[in-house]
C-alpha cells in the first residue's frame, strides 16, 4: 500500500515509510512545481480540467481528479500505467491542444509529473491496472504483404464488430450513432474520422490502434473489444483502420492552388478522371473571434478542406471537399435554433477574392478600404447526386443556394445573383462541392497570375451560422501555363537565330580581315555549326 503524505503526519511518516515511497513523494512535489508552471493553465490548479484556457477547448482538458484516462495500455475502465502517462506527456495528444513535452522537460521532470498526476486521484493507491499490451505483436512482424492481408481481413472484422455504427462505412466518423447522440454534457459523441491519422489522440500506429480497440476509451461509447474479438481479429482490425488513414498521403499543405489545364469540358462530377488526377492541397481551417453574436469560436467542426482546381481555356473550376458527419440533415428548424448553440442550420462554403487583385483585404469579408467578392454556396434540404450533364442548374434543383456577395467589411454585404455555377454532393460523411466560372468573369484568372483566395466553411449541425465558421488564411489561386509547343519553338527560334546572327557577324568580320590571327576563328565557328 502506498501512503499519501499529510502535512501533520509528515515527520512521523518519514520514519516509517519505506525509502521508495518517500522518493515518490519527493517526485510528486517536484512534479507539482512543474505542474503549476506548465499544466495548470488548461488542467486547472486542482487538476479538475478547468483551467483558464480550458473554455475554448474541445476536447476538454483531462480531469485528473476523476481520472477517466482514455489513452491506456490497460483494460477498460482501469487506470493507465506510469508508462502510459509518461508517453502521453512526452508525445502530447495529436489533434488536441495538448503539446508534447519531450523537448521541453527532461526525462526526470516528466517522470515527476507522472507521480504528481497520480497523487491527484486516490484511485492510484488502491487499484492495480492490468496490462493489455500484446506480448509479441506477431502480426507486426508479418512484413508488407502480411499487412495487406491482415488489413483485408480487418475489413470483414470492421463489419462484424459493427464499427460502422459510429465510424461510418468509409471511416469518416459519420456513423448513425455518432451523429444523433449527445452525451451527458450536451457535447457530441464525435467518433474518430479514420482518414485523419494525425488526429488519433493515442497515436496512429497499428500498435496504438490495437490498444484502443482492445481496451476501449474510458467514458465514451468506444467500449473494449477484448472479450468480443480474438487477438488476431483485433490486430487485423488495427491494420485495416491504419490503412484508412489516407489524408497525408493524398494531400499536401500548400498556399497555391494551381488549376490543371485540361482539354474539353470541365467534368461536373468529382469522380471523373480529370478531377481525380488533379493535385489536391490541404487547407487548414480554424475558428476565430466573432463580433455578432459576441463569442470566441474556437471549436469549429471542420478542421480542414481539400481543394482541387481545373481550367480549360474557357472556364475555371474548384472542387472543395471536406468532412461533415451530418451533411444535408443539418437543415432543420432554423428559426428556433440558436446561433452558436448546437442547432440545425444549413451547411455553407465560401470562396473569397479581393476586388482589387493586388490587395489582400481583411480575411473575412474584407474591410472598408478593400472590398472583396465572395462566392457562397449553401446546402439545400435535400441535395441530390450531382447531375451528370453539365447544364449547371443542379443548384436550383436540389434546393441549394448559390449567391455572389460583394462585401466591404462584415457589416457591408451586398448579396447578388451568382455568376458562377455550383454542384454539390454529400455521401458517407463528405461534402464535395464544385464551383465553376467563366474566365470572362471576375476575378480574372490568368496563367502565371496569382489571385488571392480565402476559404471558409460553416457546419450547421455545430450551430455555425453568420460569421461563426471555420476559416482559412489567404492562399493564392493560379492557372497552369498551357503545355503548348510554343515555348520550345520560341527557344529553337532564338537558338537558330543566334547561330545565324553569329555566322553573319563572323562572316562580316572575316570579310574585314584586319590581320591573320582572326582568320582561324570563323573557320572554327563554321565547323561548330556543321
Amino acid at each position: 500500500m502506498r501512503i499519501v503524505p499529510v502535512p501533520v503526519a509528515w515527520l512521523f511518516l518519514c520514519m516509517i515509510v519505506p525509502r521508495s515511497a518517500r522518493a515518490e513523494a519527493r517526485g510528486s512535489e517536484a512534479g507539482r512545481d512543474i505542474y503549476m508552471q506548465r499544466c495548470f493553465w488548461c488542467h486547472g490548479e486542482d487538476g479538475r480540467g478547468d483551467g483558464a484556457s480550458a473554455v475554448g477547448m474541445f476536447p476538454r482538458p483531462r480531469d485528473f481528479v476523476r481520472a477517466d484516462y482514455k489513452i491506456r495500455s490497460t483494460a477498460h475502465g482501469q487506470l493507465p500505467t506510469d508508462e502510459d502517462l509518461f508517453e502521453v506527456i512526452s508525445r502530447g495528444m495529436p489533434g488536441t491542444p495538448m503539446p508534447g513535452w519531450e523537448k521541453i522537460l527532461s526525462d526526470q521532470e516528466r517522470r515527476s509529473l507522472v507521480d504528481y498526476l497520480k497523487s491527484l486521484s486516490p484511485r492510484f493507491e488502491v487499484e492495480t491496472p492490468e496490462s493489455i499490451r500484446a506480448p509479441s505483436a506477431s502480426a507486426r512482424a508479418a512484413g508488407p504483404s502480411g499487412f495487406a492481408a491482415s488489413s483485408e481481413r480487418g475489413q470483414e472484422v470492421y463489419d462484424k464488430a459493427k464499427c460502422f455504427l459510429c465510424h461510418g462505412d468509409a471511416g469518416r466518423g459519420d456513423g448513425p450513432i455518432t451523429t444523433t447522440l449527445n452525451f451527458e454534457w450536451g457535447l457530441p459523441h464525435a467518433a474518430r474520422d479514420f482518414t485523419r491519422g494525425w488526429t488519433f489522440k493515442g497515436g496512429h500506429e497499428p500498435g496504438d490502434i490495437y490498444l484502443r480497440i482492445t481496451g476501449g476509451l474510458n467514458g465514451t461509447p468506444m467500449g473494449p473489444y477484448r472479450d468480443l474479438l480474438t487477438d488476431q481479429e483485433r490486430w487485423d482490425l488495427a491494420y485495416y483502420v491504419a490503412s484508412l488513414d489516407t489524408e497525408p498521403a493524398e494531400t499536401s499543405v500548400d498556399f497555391v492552388v494551381t488549376a490543371a489545364l485540361i482539354d474539353g469540358a470541365i467534368p461536373p462530377t468529382p469522380d471523373s478522371p480529370p478531377w481525380r488526377e488533379a493535385d489536391s492541397i490541404l487547407v487548414p481551417l480554424a475558428g476565430q473571434v466573432v463580433l455578432d453574436p459576441p463569442l470566441r469560436w474556437w471549436i469549429p467542426t471542420t478542421g480542414s478542406l481539400t481543394v482541387r482546381s481545373l481550367w480549360n481555356g474557357a472556364e475555371v473550376a474548384f472542387l472543395l471537399e471536406w468532412h461533415d458527419p451530418t451533411g444535408p440533415e443539418d437543415v432543420g428548424s432554423g428559426a428556433s435554433a440558436q446561433a452558436g448553440a448546437r442547432g440545425s442550420f444549413p451547411d455553407s462554403v465560401f470562396l473569397q477574392f479581393p476586388a482589387d487583385e493586388n490587395s489582400r483585404p481583411y480575411f473575412l469579408f474584407g474591410d472598408s478600404d478593400n472590398a472583396v467578392q465572395v462566392w457562397h454556396w449553401q446546402a439545400g434540404s435535400a441535395p441530390t447526386a450531382m447531375s451528370q450533364d453539365s447544364s449547371g442548374d443542379s443548384a436550383e434543383s436540389n434546393g441549394d443556394l448559390a449567391e455572389g456577395w460583394a462585401a466591404g467589411g462584415s457589416d457591408k454585404i451586398d448579396v447578388r445573383p451568382a455568376r458562377f455555377e455550383v454542384g454539390s454532393h454529400w455521401q458517407e460523411g463528405r461534402w464535395q462541392v464544385i464551383f465553376r466560372q467563366s474566365l470572362a468573369g471576375q476575378p480574372k484568372f490568368e496563367p502565371g497570375k496569382f489571385v488571392p483566395i480565402v476559404f471558409s466553411v460553416r457546419d450547421g449541425a455545430n450551430g455555425e451560422i453568420g460569421n461563426i465558421r471555420a476559416v482559412s488564411t489567404w492562399l493564392y489561386a493560379t492557372l497552369e501555363r498551357p503545355k503548348s509547343a510554343r515555348p520550345w519553338l520560341i527557344a529553337m527560334a532564338y537558338f537558330f537565330g543566334a547561330v545565324i546572327a553569329e555566322i553573319w557577324i563572323l562572316s562580316r568580320l572575316n570579310g574585314v580581315r584586319i590581320d591573320g590571327s582572326r582568320q582561324s576563328e570563323p573557320q572554327q565557328a563554321k565547323v561548330e555549326v556543321q
Binding site: H76, L165, I177
Partner: protein, 467 residues
C-alpha cells in the same frame, strides 16, 4: 513584472466575458452554465444519459415477437427513428430477441381486466360491445383532454401533428400500430407513471384515475386510429420456440455487446461501457415532493418549455414569465388550461390539485423574473382619457385584425385579449408593446415603433380588458 503580466491578464479577463457565450455553445450542463444563483436545476429530459428506453422488460411491452423482427431488422422503417440499421441477418435478430426474452422479469405489473378484454369485436356479445364502446368513448375524451396528439401521431382523423414535435431530433412518437403492438398490462402501467418504466422519458405523468386509464387503454387498443391500414397476419406461436434456445441467448448477448446497444438502452446483464457519472438534476432521482422541482420532474415541464436555455422549444419559454403573468392566473391556468392562442395547441390538462397549481404559480412568480419588466405601467396614474385614446389606437392600427378584445370585431391569429388584464401584469403589457420583438424575436406581431405616450395609452386600455 507587472507589465509582463498585463497582456496576459487582459486576455484572461476577455476570456471571462466570453465564458458565458461559450458555455452556451459548448454544453447544457449545470457545471458549465451558470443559471440564476440560488435556483436549483430542473429536470431536463433532453439531457438524459441514454436516448432509448430500457429493454429489460420490453417483452412485457410488445404483444407480438414479429414486431421485434421488423424493428430490429429494419429500424429505419420508422420515419422518425434514430436507431441505426445494425445490418443484421434474420437469424441474428432472433438471437437478440432470445436474449431480451431471457432477461424479462417473470412478474410484471398485472392488472384485472373484464372477461371480454381479449376478445375481438366479432366474438363479443351485445352487452360486452356496449361496455366496450362506452369505455372507448370515454377514452377518446381522455385522449383529447390530455392533448396526446401534441406528441403522438396516429392513423385517424385529428391525430396527425403537423410540423413535428418539440425537437425535430426527437420526432413524434408514432402510435399508428399501437393497437396490435402493445400489451394491455404494460400500457396501463405506462400511462399510470411512464418514468417507472423509462426514467428519462419525455412523457409527463398525467394524474389520471384508474377509470380514465382503463378507458384510454381500451381506446388505444381498439380504435382504428391506432391500427395500421391492414392488420398483420396472426403470429404462429410455434415459430417463436427458437427464442428459448440457449445458444441463441448466448449469441444474442454477444451481438448486443458488439452493436453497443447499451449506449442508448439499459439492458440487464450487459456491462456499461460509459463509466461517466450522471449529472445532478437529470440523474433521475426524484426531488422531494411538494416542491416545484418535483412537479417539473413529474410533469416533464421542460419537454415543451425552456427555462434558462434548457428544455424544449415547443411551448413558451418560462425564463422570465414570473414578471409577465399574474400569479392567480398561472394557478388557474395550469389547473385547467384554457385557450390563449386560438390557432396554436393548448396546454394539456394534467389534473393537478389546487395546491400543486399554487406551487407552480408561486415558483414562477418569485423565482423566474425578468428584471427588465416593470410591475406597473411607468409614468404614474392612468387617466380615463388615456384609456379612451388607447381604444382608438387599437382600432386605428388595425390590432383587431389579429386580436379579439370583445369590443367590436376581432381576429384569431394573435392571442385573445378579452381577458388579457387577468393574465398579464400591466407592466408586462407595456414592456411588450414597447417592442414585441424583445420578448419573442420571431413574433409575427409587427413592431410599430409607437411613441411612448401611445404605448402608455394602449397598455392602459388593454389593462382594462378583464371581462
Amino acid at each position: 513584472m507587472t507589465t509582463m503580466f498585463l497582456p496576459f491578464l487582459t486576455t484572461l479577463l476577455a476570456a471571462g466575458s466570453a465564458d458565458e457565450a461559450l458555455s452556451r455553445d459548448i454544453g447544457t450542463k449545470s457545471e458549465i452554465r451558470n443559471p440564476q444563483s440560488g435556483i436549483q436545476d430542473l429536470f431536463n429530459p433532453y439531457e438524459r444519459r441514454k436516448n432509448g428506453p430500457p429493454l429489460t422488460n420490453v417483452f412485457h411491452k410488445v404483444k407480438s415477437p414479429s414486431w421485434f423482427l421488423a424493428k430490429i431488422g429494419n429500424p429505419m422503417s420508422h420515419p422518425a427513428a434514430r436507431m441505426p440499421d445494425l445490418k443484421l441477418a434474420e437469424g441474428e435478430v432472433l438471437d437478440i430477441m432470445a436474449y431480451l426474452k431471457s432477461i424479462a422479469v417473470p412478474d410484471f405489473a398485472e392488472q384485472q381486466w373484464p372477461a371480454w378484454a381479449d376478445k375481438g369485436f366479432e366474438e363479443m356479445d351485445d352487452d360486452e360491445l356496449d361496455a366496450m364502446f362506452e369505455l372507448t368513448e370515454r377514452g377518446q375524451a381522455v385522449w383529447s383532454n390530455a392533448r396526446c396528439s401534441i406528441c403522438h401521431r396516429a392513423n385517424g382523423p385529428g391525430g396527425k401533428l403537423v410540423g413535428g414535435f418539440v425537437d425535430l431530433r426527437v420526432g413524434g412518437i408514432d402510435l399508428m400500430g399501437a393497437g396490435p403492438k402493445l400489451v394491455r398490462n404494460w400500457l396501463y402501467a405506462w400511462i399510470k407513471d411512464p418514468k417507472a418504466y423509462f426514467p428519462n422519458t419525455l412523457m409527463p405523468r398525467f394524474r389520471l384515475g384508474d377509470g380514465d386509464i382503463r378507458a384510454l387503454v381500451e381506446y388505444l387498443l381498439r380504435d382504428d386510429a391506432f391500427r395500421p391500414p391492414e392488420d398483420a397476419e396472426p403470429d404462429d406461436p410455434e415459430r417463436w420456440k427458437v427464442l428459448d434456445e440457449p445458444q441463441r441467448i448466448t449469441h444474442g448477448r454477444q451481438l448486443i455487446e458488439l452493436s453497443r446497444c447499451v449506449v442508448c438502452h439499459d439492458i440487464k446483464g450487459i456491462p456499461e461501457i460509459m463509466s461517466l457519472r450522471a449529472p445532478s438534476a437529470s440523474a433521475g432521482d426524484a426531488p422531494p415532493t411538494g416542491t416545484f422541482e418535483f412537479l417539473a420532474y413529474d410533469l416533464r415541464c421542460l419537454s415543451c418549455h425552456a427555462i434558462d436555455g434548457r428544455g424544449g422549444t415547443y411551448a413558451p419559454d418560462l425564463t422570465g414569465e414570473g414578471s409577465r403573468l399574474l400569479e392567480d392566473w398561472i394557478a388557474t391556468f395550469v389547473e385547467s388550461p384554457d385557450m390563449i392562442r386560438p390557432l396554436s395547441q393548448q396546454m394539456p390538462k394534467f389534473n393537478l390539485t389546487a395546491d400543486e397549481a399554487k406551487i407552480i404559480a408561486s415558483y414562477l412568480s418569485t423565482s423566474r423574473r425578468d428584471p427588465r419588466i416593470p410591475e406597473s405601467i411607468p409614468g404614474g396614474e392612468i387617466t380615463e382619457q388615456e384609456i379612451e385614446r388607447g381604444r382608438e389606437i387599437f382600432r386605428a392600427k388595425g390590432c383587431f385584425s389579429c386580436h379579439t378584445v370583445g369590443d367590436g370585431p376581432g381576429g384569431v391569429v394573435g392571442p385573445d385579449l378579452r381577458l388579457v388584464a387577468k393574465r398579464l401584469k400591466p407592466g408586462a403589457i407595456w414592456f411588450h408593446l414597447k417592442n414585441p420583438h424583445t420578448v419573442n424575436p420571431y413574433s409575427a406581431e409587427p413592431d410599430y415603433g409607437l411613441p411612448d405616450e401611445d404605448v402608455r395609452a394602449l397598455s392602459a386600455y388593454l389593462s382594462t380588458r378583464r371581462e
